[in-house]
């Protein structure tokens, strides 16, 4: 009998303790809510300081971006990608380090390296990207990076990079050049000449 009653008493008291916890939370909702009203508010929350500044981040893994003018076509990122979502085609150029205005090719990167290759294709399939950030490290020119965070000054973060078509998520970073102009530099053309 004692056990029976104490059991009931224990049940009631613990249940009331639990209800007290939820009541406390309900009363403090104005201060303690954690909701982010997404389209209006974005991370990090503007009005609340929880210790994170954009400068504080090491990196934000959002979306890959390539500064194609700096790319020297070394294929390091393509090789290191675990899911093969980067595809690069390059064309050798005779005039190393010179601007080719007709295909808007810059000869010298912002780091001062002379480019020996034209990057004719630089596709990143973001549907396959696993956001491992591995391609960012080996890049000698630091031209492939994740947008946002410490890179916001170069490329702001793209919160909703959603598309209606799957193919639109294949990002083509290479300069959009007509085939005619490009064909001048293609190796096959040269072989024919010889």
């Amino acid at each position: 009998m004692y056990k029976y009653l104490s059991n009931i008493f224990e049940a009631i008291s613990t249940l009331f303790t639990g209800m007290g916890v939820t009541w406390g939370h309900m009363m403090k909702i104005r201060k303690e809510n954690v909701t982010l009203q997404y389209p209006e508010e974005r991370w990090p929350r503007p009005e609340r300081d929880i210790g994170f500044n954009m400068e504080n981040y090491n990196v934000i893994r959002s979306r890959l971006h390539v500064d194609i003018d700096d790319c020297i076509g070394c294929l390091k990122c393509e090789r290191v990608c675990p899911v093969q979502c980067i595809k690069i085609n390059t064309v050798k150029v005779e005039t190393k380090g010179e601007d080719l205005t007709d295909i808007s090719h810059t000869g010298i990167t912002s780091n001062g390296t002379k480019k020996a290759l034209i990057v004719s294709r630089f596709d990143i399939d973001m549907t396959e990207c696993c956001y491992c950030n591995l391609c960012v490290y080996p890049c000698p020119e630091e031209c492939i990076y994740m947008t946002g965070g410490p890179n916001s000054h170069k490329q702001p973060i793209d919160y909703e990079f959603s598309q209606y078509d799957r193919n639109d998520l294949i990002y083509k970073f290479a300069k959009d050049v007509e085939d005619e102009k490009m064909s001048k530099y293609l190796p096959q053309q040269k072989q024919v000449d010889e």
């Binding site: 249940l15 303790t17 639990g18 916890v21 954690v34 994170f52 090491n58 491992c132 950030n133």
Partner: protein, 372 residues
């Protein structure tokens, strides 16, 4: 009174079901509400992680390990990195070891929070689940500051880590710990000592230690059965021997040793222990270059290694065979959740429908790791 025996009804729990923690199918034979047989069917998430690993280089394996136990990616990275480093005989800098311990323990807290929250959800308590998720979010925020990712980190590399701490990171972790430690009292009030919760979990799904060991159950599930076995202490790796922490084991306060409540409570007690380790590590962390020991090309010598580490779910082991090339010849992951799920059929016999869900929840499985 005699027992009425009717025909058994076969019931498929899953693959789409709210409480199977992923895509798991349980083929259950029931006699009314009483379960007479449970047979888990797995493999719905199978993507042959091990075959993938035989086709990518050692550093490219790390993103794949992330995706095995996606709740505790840091620990997966950690285990893999430790195994490959031992194979290559790399000595990593002191600072790297401290950073690894800190992030691994943070991730252990995050993983346990998710385990406890979803366990609460399985027995019908929704609010504690969200409280725990709220606190887990803060850990994920910390990881986002650290390496840019919230779930799949690829942070711990062979020979080092990908980034050093950002400035003020130590302060952020301290502020999180100060925030987090009092919250455990709240969890206890709302869930642990709730009478309904105790009724639902105590004495339910008792896993005796012999059964647990025979089934290879490890981690908090094994400790819930009262076996003091923690690889961080018993077979110490990295720098865990430097820290002072306890290994909580189940003692059957509310029922029998090895019941669901014990497994739950072991996890609950492990979180403050992890916080304790983090505090010690933050205090003692030395300066240094985290990229110092990163090998340019990971090419382990011929040989094999079987290396166990303690993930939040138990003994996470990698069996790596190297043939001297930059690609692993064979990589086997011994996942703790795999063994934990295999015991379900044994310990849930004779319980009721609702108990099977509770037992499954208390085992804390992650299907990504079971199916690999």
């Amino acid at each position: 009174m005699g027992i009425v025996h009717g025909d058994l009804m076969t019931l498929n729990i899953g693959p789409q079901h709210p409480s199977t923690h992923g895509v798991l199918r349980l083929k259950v034979k029931t006699d009314g509400e009483i379960i007479s047989e449970v047979e888990p069917y797995i493999g719905y998430l199978h993507r042959c992680f091990e075959k993938h690993c035989e086709n990518v280089t050692y550093d490219q394996v790390i993103p794949y390990t992330d995706r095995c136990d996606y709740i505790a990616s840091m620990n997966n990275n950690f285990g893999y990195a430790v195994a490959v480093e031992e194979l290559m005989k790399i000595k990593v800098p002191e600072r790297v070891e401290y950073i690894r311990v800190i992030v691994a323990e943070l991730n252990r807290i995050a993983s346990h929070l998710l385990a406890l929250g979803t366990f609460g959800l399985d027995v019908g308590a929704f609010t504690p689940f969200l409280y725990m998720f709220r606190d887990r979010e803060r850990i994920l925020d910390i990881f986002e500051v650290l390496c840019g990712a919230r779930l799949l980190y690829n942070y711990i590399w062979v020979g080092g880590v990908s980034h050093d701490f950002p400035k003020e990171f130590v302060k952020i972790v301290y502020s999180f710990l100060d925030y987090f430690e009092p919250k455990i009292k709240e969890y206890n009030e709302i869930l642990t000592y709730n009478k309904i919760f105790i009724e639902r979990t105590a004495d339910v799904g008792v896993m005796p230690p012999e059964v647990a060991i025979s089934y290879g159950v490890s981690g908090p599930n094994l400790r819930g059965s009262g076996v003091q076995w923690d690889i961080r202490k018993n077979e110490t790796y990295s720098i865990y021997e430097k820290f002072d922490f306890d290994i909580p084991v189940g003692s059957g306060i509310m029922g029998t040793v090895g019941d669901c409540w014990d497994r739950y409570y072991v996890r609950m007690q492990e979180m403050p222990q992890s916080a304790k380790i983090i505090r010690q590590a933050l205090k003692a962390i030395p300066e240094g270059n985290v990229h110092q020991a990163l090998p340019k090309k990971i090419r382990p010598p011929k040989g094999f290694i079987y290396k166990r580490t303690e993930s939040p779910r138990g003994d996470l082991a990698y069996y790596i065979v190297s043939d001297g090339s930059p690609i692993p010849f064979r990589l086997k992951m011994r996942s703790p959740a795999f063994t934990a799920l295999s015991v379900l059929g044994e310990i849930s016999q004779g319980w009721m429908m609702s108990d099977v869900i509770a037992i499954l929840g208390s085992l804390d499985i992650v299907l990504g790791e079971i199916d690999r």
